[in-house]
Symmetry: C2
Subunit: 416 residues, 2 copies
């Protein structure tokens, strides 16, 4: 059985995701699909619009056979840690043959060539990067310039290579490739060229629209106009969730909680959060005092140097009680400490049996069994996940679903 | 100039309060009225329905000449600490000749007689109280029974004496008297008999209604039906506040913040709060996990042993960052550390001049002047007040008024 691994957020699952799965199946000739998916909080530092189990149901009905959770410390992290965490799980479960990700370029050879340079960091590239950075420009720009110079020196006439670093999905693709290389993984990489460059486009653009545009229409209670971009099951499950009073969750749901937490926290406590350094803790504290809304808060903190996603990830870390120290500990222990299953179908059940034999990390199907684990990094990772969910559910309108501890009581999704 | 001191919450100011002020003026023949008033949080462990400065405006327009804030650690405390804090301020400012409080009995001689027994605790009374308490009944019941026995032994045939302990305003009156006695204060006590026994009556009862009934009608957006119970200025200022998006604040405004705080707190952190003991911290933690709403939370914590007001005060302490240690420190330093002025009228201005000469505690008219005070109890008391207000304002609907730091920017109210 040839097994394909993919990494996704499905926030929410839309036609573009379906296209990616179908094309990846054709491209790789795989028999089964495993997906590592963000949980209740996503990479750009936001709560997912519906919870991870509802998103699992949708994905299982649309071509994915087994879903594993990307633990929140990695899910709500830089592209580098996000990719490393996800690829590390796909690598460690021992059953994945190939991985497929979207990219603007669609050219795996070129992407791999750049990834190798970025991982090996040849002396002349490194020197150029350092020179560029000292001029005070942003890291992505400097990296692209340094790569450009390095390729010229190498007499590589392919000018388009460094320009690959200009678009977001190529950049993420490079991070997956870097992670595979660092892990010395035997997993074979593939890329599917994106059919629409609408990632981050805020307007709906027909049957393939960006998740951002779809979320915006949902937040404006205009879910109907986004239906054309969603598979039927995604529509149905979102309708069900919203009518139950679970979602749509957004950062605005946590406006007062975030302001209250920040006003109570000391700068010393904030400084312990990943990515808070160089006095950013004081900037955040001042902004929390001088802001009466979430929009004000972001406007008062963000600059070119402190982009919105970085700040939002810091705020989610605060809500989930995650510290820089936690990430350091997890990385020292090799990354994600377990493969926690969110759901599977019949094929997924077979994958699960295989995984249980081959995985080098614990495969968790019942989180409650690990509540009293002796393994402290496992316990700490689950604790952070539980804390994140205990806060996530506070955004629900229906009190019946706002209780804590759901991380340990919710059953995984089994599709027959 | 004969100066009368009163203690109040004015949440909100109503016709019953006006009656109390007018009767007290007649009874004492005073020339001026100083009021010590709770700030943004009140004794039963709730946010005030409108903020302290708006309440100050109303009181100054209805017979009070100068308002001093009861600092939040004392305002949100047991009847004993509440009364001690307020009477201590009235005593320390050095200008108050008499105090007047409402009571069901209206008989100051009887109340003083009981207060003296409760303060001096004669041996036989103390032994009887201990005996009663060992039977497991609540403190108020045991106290009343012990007093009853003690009075019988003393051959005091006045049976009604111990029954004074049955009603809430008498009990509070006794606390004021106890505080005067403990402070060895020269202030002369008076009591005004309540004309209506509607304290805590949830229904409106005409032009004299309980603050509880008035608040309930406002929370139900039925302020019009409570207008008959409110002086015109109270109506006008509440209308203004609500139309500005400031209030009506209630504990429900803090539902998600409280649940989030409790879910993040450790039992060890909760145990540091005043009145959390004997494992109550675990009871609160469990309830926070198993509750999806504020009503659930209270229902899951409260018992006869843990009454609602005690629990609510604990939750407000959490929001204000107050610890048991803070109260111990303040009491070790004599109680409230300063007299912070919230507002005054022309007569109040003269009182203020007098106070500045005679007060044994600092008289604060600009809190920002004390932001860098060297006196650590003063600084800590202001810090708690500021934290409480920074949380209080989060309940406002209008983001323009939700900024922190208002404790140091808001000017005091001067009525001409």
């Amino acid at each position: 059985m040839k097994v394909l691994g993919i990494v996704a957020e499905y926030n929410p699952f839309h036609n573009g995701h379906m296209y990616h799965i179908e094309e990846s199946k054709k491209l790789t000739g795989c028999d089964a699909v495993v997906c590592v998916m963000s949980g209740n909080f996503i990479q750009r530092g936001e709560p997912a619009i519906i919870n991870k189990f509802a998103r699992t149901e949708i994905a299982l009905g649309n071509g994915v056979d087994l879903i594993i959770e990307l633990p929140v410390p990695f899910a709500v992290s830089s592209a580098e840690f996000f990719s490393y965490g996800a690829v590390s799980i796909l690598n460690n479960i021992g059953i994945v043959d190939c991985i497929s990700f979207g990219s603007e370029s669609g050219d795996i050879i070129s992407l791999q060539k750049i990834a190798e340079i970025l991982v090996s960091e040849p002396q002349s590239y490194k020197a150029e990067l350092k020179k560029q950075l000292s001029a005070g420009l942003s890291f992505p720009v400097c990296r692209q310039r340094a790569l450009d110079k390095y390729l010229k020196i190498q007499n590589d006439s392919n000018e388009s290579l460094s320009s690959l670093l200009e678009t977001s999905n190529n950049i993420l693709a490079l991070e997956y490739l870097k992670a595979l290389s660092r892990l010395n993984s035997p997993i074979q990489p593939y890329t599917v060229k994106r059919i629409s460059n609408c990632y981050n486009t805020p307007q709906l653009t027909g049957s393939i629209s960006s998740a951002t545009a779809i979320r915006n229409s949902i937040y404006k209670s205009e879910i109907d106009v986004s239906r054309q971009a969603l598979p039927t099951l995604a529509q149905q499950i979102m309708d069900r969730e919203f009518s139950l009073g679970r979602g749509p969750n957004s950062l605005y749901s946590f406006e007062d909680i975030i302001l209250a937490f920040l006003r109570h926290a000391t700068p010393q406590e904030l400084e312990k959060i990943q990515d808070v350094s160089e006095g950013l803790e004081y900037r955040i504290k001042n902004a929390a005092d001088n802001s009466g809304s979430f929009d004000d808060l972001l406007a008062n903190i963000c600059t070119k140097r402190y982009p919105k996603t970085r700040i939002q990830r810091i705020l989610i870390s605060l809500l989930a009680g995650m510290k820089r120290f936690d990430m350091e500990q997890f990385m020292a222990c090799g990354g994600p400490q377990y493969a926690r299953i969110l759901g599977f179908n019949e094929i997924g059940r077979q994958l699960l049996s295989l995984m249980k034999k081959k995985s080098s990390i614990p495969v968790i199907t019942k989180a409650s069994h690990y509540k009293t684990s002796d393994d402290s990094p496992i316990l700490r990772m689950l604790e952070i996940e539980a804390r994140a969910t205990d806060t996530y559910v506070l955004a629900y309108k229906n009190p019946a679903f706002k209780k804590a501890g759901q991380e340990f009581t919710q059953n995984i999704i089994i599709c027959r």
